[in-house]
Symmetry: C2
Subunit: 427 residues, 2 copies
């Protein structure tokens, strides 16, 4: 049952269509708004979030109570529930986005032609971006603010369980926009939980330029299958750490444990460890020790099992599984070539790391592994826009078009060519 | 009836699937092939085209005879027909592409983080690109060579009327690839004219990363509607020339006439001329004279009609029409704001130009007109990858993602992040 209950299918289409028209109009103005205005909107929205913290928490309390009554899982409730600290973190996040450099208007390249034409490639916003996400209220502030920073209008469609929380947060963003003299329609929430609204949004190619789904596999698969609009996808993160024969043992141990265990639920967490046979006897046992002592379940091939009795046999399915949990699959390989083959076959082209002091092996790994992020002697957990110095991100793209890796404000722009002449005509 | 006639639907899927698997494998090797190897393949293919000119012309003669027998139009036959000169132009085109800089492997950006991580954004190929085009044999060489230059495998699907011509040209590309030690499957032609092959290609999202349709509106619309793979589109070019009150009259005349009449059939040809009211009496008559004397039909609003008896009344439909012919719609506007409104309402966001000596008006036009290419005091006919100094192009993208404007070798790449550390783990 939807929150806006008495609307039929046709009305949902009309409703979403009205959002689209308003977003398109807001986007045209926002595209040429000054950095100062956009930043003022973000700073004021942060203040509004702090000032309305009680209302946000009250709305969130209603969402949480409904979800608990419906018997949703504890992990789900944890992602849904806000606290004063979490509201403050959202407000601080808005201020962080305000302080990022404005990508819009920057010249990416500029050159002169022999005929005197001056050609500049200049960043401009994409236009209208639809964000479809799960019941995580903070995504409302994160995604809305990043779109706004890059001069895009946003249409936000969060999970139905977070509807009331998201409505309060969107109201704070609207307050910021209005205070800065920008159209509040630059950030709109779909005002119904009716599932038909998602379909309507995905069909609205006239008014929406890009869809960004944020959430689990099934959400992204549904969006990709249904959308008539380009989709920027973030799929599996089956990330590997490869300990090469030339690795420093201490770096190998520290990176393997950090890549898996620092946070197991993020997409940059390692899921498989590959170790060269020539060093597996010396380097692998201390890694297995450290992992298992830290609470990790290790599923290994027969050679790994032989090194530690606590290792569980890995099956073929393990190599292609994104655990997002304290579980790691471990395989001993003959060398670099077999490691590359394994990653090409089972990896998800997200983030992979090599540990080695051998410069040639590192260079080969960085070149031949076809992933959005390839690292040498560093943990896969650095796969994060903030860690890259790009500021907030809306996700890590595993697509091969437009943007790959962390998607921050700059990746939510496109460019146009400004050509300056003195009367040139083409011969 | 298809050229490969006795294959049912399921076999077409299998056939296209085999092309996809071979292309994916070839792409993996091509992605890390040296510039030298790729260039050698292109240069050898050019030689092969010259050496096999007679065979290419014979195959083309068969295509042309079939098309003539089927009663296709003279314009169609003209695009289909090759000559020794046209084959030489294709060969020279391959050599031009070989001489372009290789975009693959170039560092787009590189920076250090406070923790010592060194982050580089490096260009890499997209992967496998499907090109769907009309019966223009030269596109086989153009599109195949650009994909190859950028390290992508190409699956080419030209119009059925050019099937035999394209087969011969593809064989020359394959010869070049083989001579350079690269997989001939890096450039494959779909070996059937069965229309079901297009559908199969558009559904093959596992093996194809990007679809580029080249051709008329209906082809692009079909591809965009059916494709399960991202599409880089080139839609209408409803391009404007706006003569501002501050224009130099001679530049205005020269640019307006060139933008319309140099070549009327290209997407960068102007379709509408807007002239400020305050100068329409002085500047417009000589422009109308020059256009009409050059053989252009002018369709104008009432103010334009009043200036020249040869002007035909324009209807509402004219403002949104891409004539691609010696026809121009002309409207007198109150000033910059009305010109911007007109372009926003009727334009196709492809290419638009302002003629003025007023720097503020020029800056406003370049900023506010939301088109892939905006020009100041230069003809819209410069909308071309070669004129931009980018070399050959596969089209002018009117999309708002990945690439906008001329799509050359660089635009057929994406990037990855190479992160170099010294043992960093994430706190």
């Amino acid at each position: 049952m939807s929150v806006v209950e008495d609307i039929g299918r046709e009305t949902v289409d009309d409703l979403v269509g009205r959002l689209g028209v308003a977003a398109r109009e807001a986007a045209a103005a926002l595209a040429v708004a000054s950095s100062d205005k956009k930043n003022r909107a973000l700073m004021t929205a942060a203040e509004a979030l702090r000032a309305r913290c009680a209302q946000v928490l009250e709305a969130n309390g209603q969402d949480v109570a409904d979800a608990e009554r419906d018997g949703t899982s504890a992990a789900f409730i944890d992602r849904l529930r806000l606290s004063a600290d979490r509201v403050e973190a959202m407000a601080a996040g808005l201020e962080d986005v305000a302080r990022l450099p404005d990508p819009v208007g920057t010249e990416i390249a500029r050159w002169q032609r022999p005929n005197g034409l001056d050609i500049a490639r200049v960043r401009v916003p994409i236009g209208v971006i639809g964000i479809i996400y799960e019941s995580r209220p903070n995504v409302t502030a994160d995604a809305g603010s990043l779109c706004l920073k890059a001069g895009n209008a946003a249409i936000l469609r969060g999970g139905r369980e977070s509807f009331h929380s998201a409505r309060e947060i969107t109201a704070c963003l609207a307050e910021g926009l209005a205070a800065a003299g920008l159209a509040p329609a630059a950030v709109q929430q779909v005002p119904t939980t009716d599932r038909a609204a998602v379909g309507a949004l995905l069909r609205m190619s006239d008014h929406v330029d890009l869809i960004v789904p944020r959430g689990g596999k099934s959400l992204i698969a549904r969006v990709a299958a249904e959308s008539r609009i380009p989709v920027l996808k973030h799929l599996d993160g089956i990330c590997h750490v490869y300990v090469h024969a030339g690795a420093d043992p201490e770096k190998a141990r520290a990176i393997a444990v950090n890549a898996k265990m620092r946070r197991t639920s993020i997409c940059g967490a390692a899921e498989t460890l590959l170790v060269d046979r020539s060093v597996s006897g010396s380097m692998l046992p201390p890694i297995l020790d450290a992992l298992i002592e830290a609470g990790c379940e290790v599923r290994g091939d027969s050679e790994t099992q032989a090194l530690d009795g606590r290792v569980i046999p890995a099956t073929e399915a393990d190599w292609g599984t994104e655990y997002l949990d304290a579980v790691l699959s471990v395989r001993v390989v003959a060398g670099l070539d077999q490691a590359l083959d394994h990653i090409a076959r089972y990896g998800s082209r997200h983030t992979d790391a090599i540990v080695t002091e051998d410069a040639a092996a590192a260079a080969a790994f960085l070149t031949f592994v076809d992933s959005a992020i390839v690292l040498h002697n560093a943990s896969t957990q650095f796969a994060d826009g903030g860690e890259f110095g790009m500021g907030a991100e809306i996700g890590i793209s595993t697509d091969r078009l437009h943007a790959r890796g962390p998607v921050g404000a700059e990746q939510l722009t496109i460019f146009k060519y400004m050509v300056r002449g003195t009367g040139q005509v083409r011969p």
